[in-house]
Symmetry: C2
Amino acid sequence: MTEHPEQIAGYTYGTAEATASPLTMEDLERLKAVVGLTKEDQEALVEAAGILADQADDMVTAYRDGLVELPFMRPYFGHPDGSANPEYGAASKPRFDRFIIDVCTRPLDQDWLNYQHEIGLRHTRAKKNATDHADSLDHIPMRYLVAFTAVVIATARDYLAAKGSSPEEIDRMHAAFTKAVMLHVTVWTRPYVDAADW
Amino acid sequence: MTEHPEQIAGYTYGTAEATASPLTMEDLERLKAVVGLTKEDQEALVEAAGILADQADDMVTAYRDGLVELPFMRPYFGHPDGSANPEYGAASKPRFDRFIIDVCTRPLDQDWLNYQHEIGLRHTRAKKNATDHADSLDHIPMRYLVAFTAVVIATARDYLAAKGSSPEEIDRMHAAFTKAVMLHVTVWTRPYVDAADW
């Protein structure tokens, strides 16, 4: 089960502690248009939330089980020598679990922009490790952030199918989830790139 | 129908004209691992190629029909004022069509790395417009390149389903296609980002 958001340490969604995003609502509207996120997709995401909510913890566990298999990835979430850091893992997991639900349910507004920018920063030298006082490598290369999206999207289908929805419903939810995840990850890349190039 | 690669103007795959990639084969192996691309996925991609090959032209037409609906996107492929540039569209389309097939069939080797880097550069100030002598805006913001991946991935399912494969085969091909597309787009972002951050 995922925790109630107010109980998640470091989860600053909708608070003044989240960094102000440099993006405008017009920037967001354009990104929504480019990923192709429609009103129908947003309705499908509400359905998806109902199906994924109690699987979010399992989904994130599966992501991490995959990443820990890759020795070169371990220093980003373990200690710098690649050894495990269970405290950091435990501290950051509820926020990652919450992300699965937020992807499907959060209104795309200024609070959303701000917290997505905060998440982006927490992957880079600007804020990595600060929230949980961890000693992992202080920057996740952008290529791994973008590339891992494939796993999140490709594996989502089985979770979306787990509650007996029709193939058509699963298709709709999976397409909407794909667009929503890409929207989030795109915004997370903002801190990595010069404004004029991003 | 897609043209034979040697007949496609500006398609420098496997030639000395494609830029040398700054990435190593080890970088590529790591990215393959992070997107989760397995041997089974690569087999599924061969199947996908058989299904998508004669639909590639329609797929790219559909992408472009979507993008032309967005006025703020038009100056990147039309003239700078947003008016249509059919010559540029016609010149670049066979390469884009060919991408659909290449995603599914090309061995992931040094030629692949080099040509993907070339594609990345052709989205940025380094090489945008040069191949086709176009006057469009000279840089596609990275956010649109990444965000639009959602459309390519989400819409692929119907094309993969168009030849009567079983739901399980479609799932396998769609997951493999998702990983392969994300691998490509990830490498295309290299020219946008400082090496130390990418």
